[in-house]
């Protein structure tokens, strides 16, 4: 069957989609063309048939389900927004908090080091202490010692190192550098007591008891300390005395010992300086020891014998070598012992001389002479023994014994320098080893890096794909 050219336009004509002019033309054509008219009728019938196919009804709950989903969508959006907001606050806040924590920890570590390094035992400014004997004022001196004033007038003042002596002493014991309390008590009561003890000055218990009974502490301390009081150049109200050796009122046979503990910057340097001071004051080294631990900290102990008249000066000079952590002085009055020994010796000498005279005068027989001589021998021995003892006491009293313990601070500049150097060397060695390793295992490293990169790219592509599929779903 022939098909009219206008058939193609019938669909548009049916849908009223032709322009006005074309529509008229088609209408004119339809009047003449039976084929097109037939075709048009078919199209109309088809359109009617199509309308018979109806879709089933929509669910009655459709509207509410759409609105619920819209609400859920909005809630999700808000939740995401809140999460983003929270993160934008939390992340910077967390970063700042982290920085603060790290800073505080570092500061804490630094402070601890500082405290460990220095014990912080120096009084920085004047402070007052109330005691049963009145108010005591502690004023620091430039040399690190502290002057004590009671009720704003001249009192028995003591040479002390710091206001927290007991704490420092405890710490010192913990470190192990000294065994006994190194500082005297800071209040006046302690001053009187200590002065009283020093006035007795005995190492043995018997001596302590006898001396304390003999000497009223207050009067003696006044007498003692009066000799030692010297005004400060910078502050005439405060009087400072040096740590004094106890003196006795009976002769001057006194055995003096001192023990000094110093925290120093350089152990070796200090050791050398101690020897110089010893020579300077005409003394000699009785003992010495020196050590260095694994961290490079040096320590040592030197026992010096210094002439008694130069004792205080030498002690002062030794104290300047470092930070004094402990200062012990002790005196023992051996005058009585010395006098006793002297008396014994004199008596023995008298006996010996008489026996000798008798031997020389009498013309006795040889056996008799030998008998007399044998009686003299024990007397001679006793005389020798007494002489030795007297000599020993003389020697001990003439030279004071000064023991200096010194150690380097836990964190000193020298140790820091050595530790830093060691750390740098280790880091350099580690870097060299790493480079060597990579150089020798370069192919393996390249292979591993390549696989890692491929895996990474694969994971990224997979995640993009999954997200796209989810969106479509």
């Amino acid at each position: 069957m022939n098909r009219c050219r206008c058939i193609k336009e019938l669909s548009s004509y049916l849908d009223s989609q032709l322009s006005g002019k074309r529509k008229i033309q088609i209408e004119e054509h339809l009047k003449r063309c039976a084929l097109c008219s037939q075709e048009l009728e078919k199209l109309k019938a088809l359109s009617e048939k199509l309308k018979s196919w109806q879709a089933p009804a929509l669910d009655v709950s459709f509207d509410s389900s759409v609105k619920n989903k819209i609400v859920a969508l909005e809630l999700e959006k808000e939740r995401v927004k809140m999460n983003k907001k929270t993160l934008s606050i939390l992340i910077p806040a967390g970063a700042i908090a982290g920085i603060l924590i790290v800073s505080l920890l570092s500061l804490n570590v630094y402070m601890k080091r500082g405290v460990q390094g220095r014990f912080n035992d120096e009084v920085k400014e004047q402070y007052n202490a109330e005691t049963e004997y009145g108010q005591l004022a502690y004023t620091p001196r430039p040399d690190g010692r502290v002057a004590v004033e009671q009720d704003k007038k001249l009192v028995n003042v003591r040479y002390i190192r710091a206001g927290k002596e007991m704490q420092v002493a405890e710490k010192s014991r913990a470190v192990g550098w000294q065994e006994s309390s190194s500082f005297e008590e800071s209040d006046a009561v302690g001053a009187y007591r200590s002065a009283g003890k020093r006035s007795g000055l005995a190492k043995t218990d018997s001596f302590l008891r006898s001396s304390s009974e003999q000497m009223p502490p207050a009067s003696v301390s006044n007498m003692m300390l009066a000799d030692k009081i010297s005004p400060l150049a910078e502050d005439s109200r405060v009087i400072v005395i040096q740590p004094t050796l106890p003196a006795t009122g009976i002769g001057d046979m006194i055995i003096r010992t001192a023990e000094l503990t110093l925290e120093v910057e350089n152990g070796k340097e200090t050791y050398r300086k101690i020897a110089d001071i010893c020579r300077e004051f005409g003394g000699y080294q009785a003992e010495s020891s020196f050590s260095k631990n694994d961290q490079g900290r040096e320590a040592g102990r030197v026992t010096l014998r210094i002439p008694k008249d130069k004792f205080l000066a030498a002690l002062d000079k030794l104290s300047e070598l470092g930070k004094v952590k402990a200062n012990n002085t002790h005196s023992q009055d051996v005058s009585q012992d010395y006098a006793n020994l002297k008396a014994e010796l004199d008596a023995a000498m008298v006996v010996y001389n008489k026996m000798l005279e008798a031997l020389q005068k009498r013309q006795t027989s040889i056996p008799e002479a030998m008998r007399l001589e044998s009686e003299l021998t024990p007397v001679l021995k006793k005389i020798e023994h007494l002489k030795n003892q007297i000599e020993k006491l003389n020697n001990l009293a003439s030279f004071t014994t000064v023991t200096v313990n010194f150690y380097e601070a836990e964190v000193s500049a020298k140790v820091l320098e050595e530790t830093t150097k060691l750390v740098k060397e280790n880091i350099l060695a580690a870097k060299i080893n790493a480079v060597r390793y990579f150089a020798t295992h370069l192919p393996l490293v390249g292979l591993v890096a390549g696989f890692t990169l491929i895996a990474f790219v694969f994971v990224i592509l997979l995640s993009i794909l999954i997200s796209r599929l989810k969106k479509r779903g």
């Binding site: 193609k8 669909s11 548009s12 849908d15 989609q17 078919k42 199209l43 088809l46 359109s47 048939k49 199509l50 309308k51 018979s52 196919w53 109806q54 879709a55 089933p56 929509l58 669910d59 459709f62 509207d63 389900s65 759409v66 609105k67 989903k69 819209i70 969508l73 479509r472 779903g473």
Partner: protein, 192 residues
């Protein structure tokens, strides 16, 4: 709200008027659903598509601009969703081959009809449904938009993103093909 034009209702919705969505649903839920049903041949799927259309209307309400009719925009969304649904089915192997061009999308097997689908269809409807299913996707779409939604050719062209002449051709071919199939059906199974 009922007196307002579609664009005005949409503008109201953009401003935050919740009742505007109710009005839009009232006006367009059935047309969109019928269109989706005629594209998917499954009531449940059609309902999903319709729901998704209105969710997207809500999602993109701020980007809606007064360029053309609201209904054109709405059916464009529906068209895109139907195409992506069909493509997804092809991707997951339900169809013999995947085609990017909607022209080439042909449903070889129809999805299982729901009980409501079966109950509501008369024999003639079944005939028509069967024949329409066999039409190429774009021809079917053009025909559905014209026959059931009464959209103008230029609107259909906008929705399908095709030139006007293409739409004329699609409709002509769709009708010709459908006529031939129906004739064949009648010859085989008799007039219903």
């Amino acid at each position: 709200m009922r007196q307002l034009a579609d664009d005005e209702v949409m503008l109201k919705y953009q401003e935050g008027e919740a009742l505007a969505m109710d009005e839009l649903l009232r006006r367009y839920k059935n047309p969109v659903y019928h269109f989706a049903y005629r594209m998917c041949f499954n009531a449940h799927e059609a309902q999903d598509v319709t729901q998704e259309v209105f969710l997207r209307v809500h999602q993109y309400k701020d980007t809606y601009r007064l360029q053309g009719k609201f209904s054109t925009w709405l059916f464009s969304i529906a068209h895109n969703l139907c195409v992506s649904r069909l493509r997804r089915k092809k991707w997951w192997g339900l169809w013999p081959r995947m085609q990017d061009d909607p022209d080439e999308l042909v449903e070889v097997e129809s999805p299982d009809p729901s009980p409501s689908d079966i109950a509501e269809e008369n024999d003639q409807a079944k005939q028509i449904k069967q024949c329409i299913q066999e039409l190429p996707f774009l021809q079917r779409e053009a025909l559905m938009l014209r026959e059931y939604q009464d959209l103008e050719y230029h609107e259909i062209a906008k929705i399908l993103k095709k030139p006007l002449n293409t739409v004329r051709t699609l409709l002509y071919r769709a009708r010709q093909t459908l006529q031939a199939k129906l004739l064949m059906y009648v010859r085989e199974f008799g007039e219903v």
